[in-house]
Symmetry: C2
Subunit: 385 residues, 2 copies
């Protein structure tokens, strides 16, 4: 096992009816800005639940945070935070609203000229406005970590930042609010959780059996419960398991003392920024190709994955690895998410476009061995056509 | 899955050489009391490592905290804390030193007459002196939770308390410092971790597949690595896995949204208080008997445990359950820890003595179904003779 530091102070309130507990987590004397997206929270009743729980509080609202939240949109919220002397943010929505809220929290306290700069130098962040979250879409894991991904629409840059100042003070996870998610969002969320897990699991072995078992536990739970929620969207147990797995997949546990890949995410972010594909779609396209191209350096873990996650025990090493990668592709396709660029009417022109973006953002040595050069990324992209 | 709250702000610094990072976690302007036990830290070099890391700090020392730390001893430290205006504690030792330090931290800030009272009414705790830990013995999980167990020597009472004010600010876990542990301490620690896990796993199913997998992951890692550390005490990887599992077994993760038993622990505490057996020994005696006596209400999880942890697939339900419980007993015995009272020269007189203690402490409805009455505890004790 490698040395590591683990720290995660996020308080999780999990289960039916937990939104009503909101007031116990928030001081009455705060001036609150509630952030949300396109209004689905008004249709599914979450907005009303939050407002009921916050009766007597001083709450302003900022809506319109889009998927892959835009710097341009978020800076409008930063202006409001400063002008209105907001001292607590409440994110009500999925990972995009929460990531956007993290940026607002840090940007409002940033003393430099342009808060976009914190994305290229995280150490510029000195503090952030405290905030909490009511999560409506399990996917990104943002509810239990200190990371966020922000897009600058003007330049089509999608970049991430991580800083302990942007851990949520609390996150409320009520699985019942996910009953009404559109199927493609449920599916994308499951794929995001799946690939968060494989990015930290399918690398090279360092004798970390506990971390391996948690990773396999998440993958097995997703494989078992995904078909249930896709056909029976109001199955509480299955929704709860998926919501918990999403939080656990990216809260630091899986990554304790093990190497991490993240190439599929980095390449995927560039695809979303340039072509507008959903994050889950980009992972479904790229992730199987990363595993194929890097199968030699990932061999031992791929074989373990084949056996423990997909119960593949027959055949030689190469065919077991192929089967395991195919199983993953079939799992994604079974959720209705296609796994090739051609399925999205994206031609081979995507290859040079994304390589150019990777080069621009210094993504020239990706993966757990920093050996996914632009040449290797090219092969990954070509395999994904 | 049941509703739950999860909150664990302990920072873990894990790995070789992490004691040297101590100064990064502690402010220079603090007046520190370093707490430790009988002096093994002076023999194994940990004392010197800590002192090297704290050069230039204002450090007092309090030694002599015994296994199953005594209220009477700890109150001497409380006096020092008050008199010397200590504002940070540093526990250097195993779970007993750390539990004792938690009590010192809370007792020094307690405004009532006798800090012993906080053990029967945890809400009396309003705050605690902040503290960190350098762990030398993986066992109790105290390094990553807000609980402690304290013994009053005068009355032979052994009671626990839990309060968020006594989360360590940080815990340093360097597996190399466990290389020189006496074998019986290593063994006891492994059994403690094992039973912490089964207390939260072998109950009744609530459809929580992720929690099940983490529990099984810990048990499987212990079963694999225990024989290694018992025969090759300086095997870093095996020591590291066991140290990580100990922290993970009682940091709140396994207990998320699932029923919990804890009968073996409660009965075990009474045995230690009355007969002086090691905590791990009491668990090795009582835990298999709890599973035997409660096998009907634990049936489904016992069968899952038999298959996934011990790979027992043959035979009818009853025989698979028997085999799984026997495997656990053999595992404990294989570590050199005996599993019957008679092995410790304790006669059947233990039964009424312990029942009297349980009654005195209100432990008359133990277990995940609160149906382990004194009558059932009697059966458990009789089966353990």
């Amino acid at each position: 096992m490698l040395n590591f530091t683990f720290y995660n102070p996020v308080k999780i309130l999990f289960g039916k009816g937990q939104i009503a507990e909101l007031s116990k987590e928030m001081a009455k004397n705060k001036r609150i800005l509630m952030t949300y997206g396109g209004g689905s929270i008004k249709r599914n009743g979450v907005y009303d639940q939050v407002m009921d729980a916050l009766k007597g509080y001083d709450v302003l609202e900022f809506s319109g945070i889009e998927p892959n939240p835009h710097y341009e949109t978020l800076m409008k919220a930063v202006d409001i935070v400063k002008k209105e002397k907001i001292d607590f943010l409440l994110s009500v929505g999925g990972g995009s609203v929460l990531d956007g809220t993290k940026f607002i929290a840090a940007a409002a306290e940033y003393e430099g000229d342009d808060p976009w700069d914190i994305l290229s130098d995280w150490s510029l962040i000195k503090r952030a406005i405290p905030f909490g979250a009511v999560l409506t879409l399990p996917a990104t894991g943002s509810e239990m970590n200190a990371g966020a991904v922000i897009t600058k629409a003007e330049t089509q840059d999608k970049l991430n930042f991580v800083h302990p100042a942007v851990f949520p003070k609390f996150s409320i996870l009520d699985p019942t609010v996910t009953f009404t998610l559109p199927p493609h969002q449920t599916a994308n969320g499951i794929i995001d959780t799946f690939v968060h897990t494989t990015e930290q699991y399918l690398t090279y072995p360092v004798n970390a059996p506990f971390q391996d078992r948690i990773a396999e536990g998440i993958l097995l739970a997703l494989i078992e419960d995904a078909p249930i929620v896709m056909t029976k969207p109001d199955d509480y147990d299955a929704r709860a398991n998926i919501m918990l797995c999403a939080a656990m997949a990216l809260n630091g546990l899986l990554g304790m003392g093990v190497p991490q890949d993240w190439a599929a995410h980095m390449i995927g972010h560039e695809i979303t920024a340039k072509y507008g594909l959903d994050h889950g779609q980009t992972l479904a396209i790229i992730s199987p190709s990363v595993l194929q191209v890097k199968r030699d350096s990932k061999r031992e873990k791929l074989l373990q994955y084949a056996e423990r996650v997909w119960d593949i025990k027959e055949g030689d090493d190469e065919s077991r690895i192929d089967k395991a990668i195919n199983k993953m592709r079939e799992f994604f396709e079974g959720l209705g998410v296609k796994t090739h660029f051609s399925d999205y009417d994206i031609s081979e022109d995507v290859v040079p476009v994304i390589l150019e973006q990777l080069k621009k953002h210094g993504m020239t040595a990706l993966g757990e061995n920093q050996d996914i050069t632009l040449e290797v990324s090219k092969e990954i992209l070509q395999r994904s056509l």
